[in-house]
Symmetry: C2
Subunit: 339 residues, 2 copies
C-alpha cells in the first residue's frame, strides 16, 4: 500500500526564496533563477538559518546529511530538489510526512552508470586487474579470458538506472533479467522482471549480479548472506546503488570463503570508504569512489535540470521527477521508460 | 593488382598424411581426422622430417616460425591451415608463391576481440587503472569519468575482426568509421570506410584508434610518428592486430611527449614482450599478453574449424577461409560479412 503522491504544483510566491545547500562550489548556470528569486547559497552549518522562510530548496551537495537536523526551521518550504538519483539521504520521516514536494535528478545518471557497469563486467571477464598486476611485475601472463556474450546478468532494481544497465548489457549479447518491486513478467528491456521475493531464487542464474535499486526500508540489506549463498561460486557482484543494499560483513565473508568470485563496489555504507575497511585490500574486489554516474559535464546537466524544474514551478506546470516519498523513488510507468 | 586465388579444392589422396605442428598440446577432437588419415603430430625441431610426404599441414602452434626453415621438405603438401586469424607468420615467399592452399581460422576470434577492445575503451574512459592504483593506496580518489557514448573510434582494418569491433562499439553509442585497403564509402557496420591513403587525415577525428589490420607489406609500420602526430592529444591507441603495424619507438616517443594520451597493446614486435621493454612501465600504457581473441573454449573451436575444413577437403568441397596469399588475408565480399 502506498500513500498518494503529493501535489506536483506547489504554488510559487511572487518572488520566492530559494535556498541552495552546497559545499565548496555553487551550481553553474543559476542566473535565470537568481533573476526572479532571492537565492540563498548556504552550507551545512548555516542551513537552519537560511531555510527559515525559504520556499524552495536545492540540495546541491547531496552527500550532506544536514537537512534532517535543520528541518524544524523549514517553515515555508514547498519544494525540495536533490542533485542525485537516490533520495535516501533526504527521505527522513519529517520530510516524508510533510507536504513538501520532492524531486530528483533522474535522467542524468542512467547512461553513465550503464557504461560503468559494462566496463566493470568486461574488466572481470577479461581479468584486466590480473593483467595490470602482471604488467607491474613485467610478467607476460597468458591465459584465456571469458566472453560476456551469452553470460547472464540479474539486475536488482528496475528503475531508470537498472533499465539503462539492462539495455547496455543486452547490446553486447548478455542475457539479462530484472528483479524489482514491481515484478511484471515480460519487459522490453529486461526480458522478464521478477518480484523481490524471487531474488534468492533468481540469483543462482547469474554470472553477474548488478545492484541498482533505490535504498528503502524494503531494500536495505537485501543482499545478505542468504542471497550471496544463492549465487554461483563464479559470479561477481556489482553494486552501483547504495552501500546499505548489501550487508558488507556478509559480503566480505562470502568473498573470503569463495562463495562468490568477486565484487566491484562503487558505493559503501560510509563514504569515503574508511582506510581501515578490509574491502580495500581484498584481491577479488574493485573499490571505486562513487563515480559510476559522474561523467565530465554532469554538474552543468544537474544544474540545468533544476533550472528547468524551477521554470516549471514558476509557471505552475507539473514538475519533472516527482518522487513518491513512500516508495522512495520516482515511479515510472512501463510505457514511459525510454524518454 | 592481385594474383588469382589458388584453387580451393586440392585433390585429397585416398589416405592422406596430415602433419600437425603443435607445441606441448595436441588439438582436441581429432579422432575423425585420425580415422581416415595418417596424422603426424610434430614439433618445430621434427617438422622437416614430418613434412616430407605430408599432404596437409595444420599449424596448430601458430606462434611457431619453424615452417619457413622446414619448407624445402614439403614435397607433397597441398593444403596448410593455421589456427589463427593473421597469417603473416606463415606467408613467407616460398609458401606464398607455391600452389599450396592456405586457410585460416576466421570466425573464431571476431566476437572475443570486439569485447576485449570495448573493455579497453571503457577501462580508459572510466580510468579503471587509476582507480585500481588508488585502491592499492587505500585512497578514495573521486573524479569525473568520460562517456563512451558519442565518442569516436577510427578502426584501422576492415576485415571481419575490425567489423566486429565496429558493431560492438556502435552498440554502446560510439561513432565509428573504418580505414582499410578497400575504402568504399558507405558501409552498414563502419558507416563509412576510407582508404589507407586517408589514414593520417582521419586519425584527427578519433578519440580511440583501434588497429585490427592484417600485417602485410602495405600495413607494416602503418602507425608511425606521422600518424601518431595526427591524433588528438586526448586520444588512445589500441592495437589488437600485430605488433609491427605500429612503429614501437615512435609510439613510445609519442606517449612520452604527450602527443597521444595512452595506449593499450595486446600484440608486440617480439612476443612475449621482453622484460626490458619500456612499455611495461609506462603509466599510460596497458600491456596485455596477446589474449584479446582467446576465450575459454577457443581451442576446441579452432580444432573444430580445422576438422570441418578437413571434411570438406576429403569430400572435394570448397574449403572455408581460403587466404588470398597476395593480399595476406581472406577476402570477404561486402555482402557476406555477417555470417
Amino acid at each position: 500500500m502506498t500513500a498518494p503522491v503529493p501535489p506536483a504544483r506547489p504554488d510559487p510566491p511572487a518572488r520566492p526564496i530559494v535556498a541552495v545547500l552546497c559545499a565548496d562550489r555553487r551550481p553553474p548556470g543559476m542566473r535565470e533563477v537568481e533573476r526572479g528569486a532571492d537565492v540563498r547559497y548556504t552550507t551545512a552549518d548555516r542551513l537552519a538559518g537560511d531555510l527559515r522562510g525559504a520556499d524552495a530548496l536545492l540540495v546541491w551537495d547531496f552527500r550532506s546529511s544536514a537537512l534532517e537536523a535543520a528541518w524544524p526551521a523549514a517553515d515555508a518550504l514547498r519544494w525540495t530538489h536533490v542533485a542525485s538519483a537516490g533520495v535516501d539521504a533526504v527521505l527522513f520521516p519529517a520530510l516524508r510526512d510533510s507536504d513538501v514536494v520532492l524531486t530528483n535528478s533522474r535522467g542524468v545518471f542512467e547512461g553513465p552508470v550503464a557504461e560503468y557497469v559494462l566496463g566493470l563486467v568486461l574488466a572481470f571477464a577479461k581479468d584486466l586487474a590480473g593483467t595490470m598486476a602482471a604488467q607491474r611485475e613485467r610478467r607476460w601472463w597468458y591465459r584465456e579470458a571469458e566472453r560476456v556474450d551469452g553470460a547472464t546478468a540479474v539486475i536488482v532494481g528496475t528503475g531508470p538506472i537498472g533499465r539503462a544497465v539492462a539495455r547496455t548489457l543486452r547490446a553486447v549479447g548478455m542475457r539479462v533479467e530484472g528483479v524489482g518491486r514491481g515484478g511484471r513478467g515480460h519487459d522490453p528491456d529486461f526480458g522478464v522482471v521478477h518480484g523481490l521475493d524471487a531474488l534468492t531464487r533468481r540469483l543462482g542464474h547469474a554470472d553477474y549480479v548488478v545492484v541498482a535499486a533505490p535504498l528503502t526500508a524494503r531494500t536495505t540489506g537485501l543482499v545478505d548472506a542468504a542471497a550471496l549463498a544463492a549465487m554461483k561460486p563464479s559470479a561477481r557482484l556489482i553494486n552501483v546503488g547504495r552501500g546499505a543494499l548489501v550487508v558488507t560483513a556478509d559480503l566480505v565473508a562470502a568473498l573470503r570463503a569463495g562463495i562468490i568470485a568477486g565484487a566491484a563496489l562503487d558505493v559503501f555504507d560510509t563514504e569515503p570508504l574508511p582506510a581501515g575497511s578490509p574491502l580495500w585490500s581484498m584481491p577479488n574486489v574493485l573499490v571505486s569512489p562513487h563515480m559510476a554516474g559522474d561523467v565530465v559535464g554532469h554538474l552543468p546537466m544537474l544544474a540545468a535540470l533544476f533550472v528547468d524544474n524551477y521554470g516549471r514551478w514558476r509557471r505552475g506546470l507539473p514538475l519533472r521527477n516527482v518522487v513518491d516519498k513512500y516508495l522512495g523513488y520516482v515511479p515510472v510507468p512501463a510505457a514511459a521508460t525510454r524518454d
